[in-house]
Each structure stands twice: as C-alpha cells, then as structure tokens.
Symmetry: C2
Subunit: 203 residues, 2 copies
C-alpha cells in the first residue's frame, strides 16, 4: 500500500493529518505536479481526474478522492473516530466537514487556481473574475465560523474531527491563495492555534 501525493498540495495534507491522528503509517510517494506527473498515461490510468492524493492498494486498486481515502482508514481503524459516532454524530461531522469543504476550502482553492500564475497549465481556462469573487466569500465564512467557535471547542462540537482538519488546511491554503486571515476574529484564532499545535498538523 502507498499514497501518491505532492507534499505541498493541500488535499494530501488532509490525508497526512488524518493518518497522524489515527497513528497509522503509510508510505508516501512524491509526484511533481508542476512537471506534468498527473498527465502521464500511468497516472491517468490510476485517476482519470488527474488529482492527488491517490491510495494504491497492494493489489493495484486505486482509491482517489481525499475523503474516500480517509473513510477507508476510518473503517479499518475506527478509533479515534474522526467522522463522528452514531447517526447524529456522524451527520453533524459530515455537515461541518461539507461546510468547511464547500464553503471555505473550495473558495480558497478557486482563488488559488484561477489567480495564481503557477496554476495556468492545470486550470484551463483561468477565470480571474471568478477567482476574485471567491475571496470575500471565504472571508465571510471565516466570520461566521468565528461566531460559531465562541460556544464550542472544535468545528463540529466538543471533539476533534475531520471538519477541523479541513478547516485548518483550508486556512493555511489561504497563504498561497493570497487571502489574509482577519486577525480580529478571536475565537477563530483560539481554535486555529489549538489545532495547529497538535502534532498531526506537522504531518
């Protein structure tokens, strides 16, 4: 078993943090996205969508999509539960992880992909107006999240979950996307420094 990734990309980082929280070790193999590694026939055969990470199992089967890889390991080793426990717990984590993905991570990614020159060969066509439109959306979600974090420790409740991983990686992704984190959001800052201080954040 191995995971194909590029260390500096945000989605592989979500998987690395997830595995570190579980205490699971999997070998990683680095691909250079900037040198066309996702467009080789071998990689397209593994993942037609040309994205990392991809988990390659011992029989050669490939599991793509960050959340599919994380769920695979959640099933293999349920503790600590990072997708929640019980029907309501799991629904709540899923809701918040989706909000962090679709409401925040996605906006940051669109700003990065459509505005950064380094992405010109991977995001075709780059639409600058769309990249710009996502910056205020991301900031609005951060302000909302700040209000929510006034009353609880983690994004989806009192327990660390995959929603915190997605939120943390999205916020760190704001730097290359050139979106500044508003320093006055005190609850968000408290949460950000707490989750950033976990050993898994360095994975």
């Amino acid at each position: 078993m191995k995971i194909l990734e590029m260390r500096s990309a945000p989605n592989p980082r979500r998987v690395r943090i997830f595995l570190a929280e579980k205490g699971i070790g999997v070998p990683f193999e680095q691909l250079d996205l900037m040198k066309g590694a996702l467009k080789t026939p071998e990689f397209v055969e593994l993942n037609w969508f040309q994205r990392v990470p991809v988990l390659v199992l011992d029989d050669g089967m490939a599991i793509a999509e960050t959340m599919a890889i994380c769920r695979y390991f959640e099933e293999l080793q349920p503790d600590p539960a990072l997708f929640g426990k019980g029907a309501l717990g799991r629904a709540t984590v899923e809701m918040w992880n989706r909000r962090m993905e679709l409401g925040l991570f996605f906006c940051v990614a669109q700003a990065f992909r459509h505005l950064h020159p380094v992405m010109a060969h991977l995001e075709v066509p780059q639409v600058a107006a769309w990249g710009e439109a996502n910056k205020p959306k991301a900031l609005e979600v951060l302000r909302y999240l700040d209000r929510e974090l006034a009353s609880r420790q983690y994004i989806s409740g009192d327990t660390f979950s995959v929603a915190d991983i997605t939120g943390l990686v999205a916020i760190d992704f704001m730097k290359p996307a050139r979106i500044q984190r508003p320093p006055e959001l005190a609850n968000l800052e408290r949460w950000y420094h707490e989750v950033s201080a976990r050993p898994s954040a360095k994975a």
Copy 2:
C-alpha cells in the same frame, strides 16, 4: 422530523431519491427560493449557508448538507446500503460519489448558477465566463463515464448506490443548465434509462 426543501431544486431531489430507495417516509415542507425564503432570519438561523435541503429533527436541531442528511438515514437504516459495505466498498462508493459531485454535478451547477438569469439574485456576482468554462468540463466527464459504464452496471460497481443518485440528478440538472447530453454515448444512455426507470427517480 421534517425536511425543508424546494421540489424543483436538484439537491433536495437527491435526498428524496435516497429516502425512496430506503423506503423511508419523511414529511417535506416547501420553501420558495425565488421569493427569498432562504434569506429570512428563521431560515438563516437553521442554515447560515442559505441552502436546501435542511432536515429539522423533533428537538429542533437542524442537519444541513445533502450528504449529511443521507448519511443520517443510512446510519438509522443501513439496508439497502447506499454508501457501500465494508472498508473498500465504502471507500469506492465515496470515491465515485465525489467524482459525480465534484466532477459532474458541480460543473452543471456552476453553469446553471452563473448563466441562468433566474439565479442572478442568489449567485452574486454571476461570472458568465466561469459558467461557460464548466460546460465542456461536464461533457468530458460524461464521455469518461460512458467508457467506465461499458464494464459495469452502476457507477460504483454492480450495486446501485448514492453515486448513481448523484449522477442521475446531475444529468437531469443539465436541462435547466442548458447543456445537451451527447446522444452517442451508448453505455451512459443504457445506465441513464435504467436508473431513471427506478420508482425512486420519480420521488
């Protein structure tokens, strides 16, 4: 328990099909998105992101996000399993559901939201160039899906799953998004007519 929705919107339809496949009955309450129903203080309190569907539990707790609602019912009533069985089965369904969501449904939604005049007050700003950029992306994914469906009955394997629901709803959403389904994709057509003929498709 009730679900707030708008009948003609695609995400609520995903939940209705999901519940119909499970044989679960939940009362639905209609909101009129075109008359500002998502922007009322009451609705924003339920879901700050101003999207339907929202599941409201008997104690007033609100679960938003289509996939969170579906997972809640999958946990309450596991059969028939629509998110797959076992670690590998669940990871595979999640991978294909994500591909249908992020690769297809999302592209169709962006074309609709950024190009259709009726969405001007909900998608601010509309970026026409971004809407147009998504149309060929959606068609490319359909061509890929057609090749995949040559060797299996359903999108994620030999069993109907939530990935088929997402794929079906995305393809039907192409009509209001004004993207024509290429009629020459024979495997896709076979699958599309098969899943459209299930009683759940009319839910």
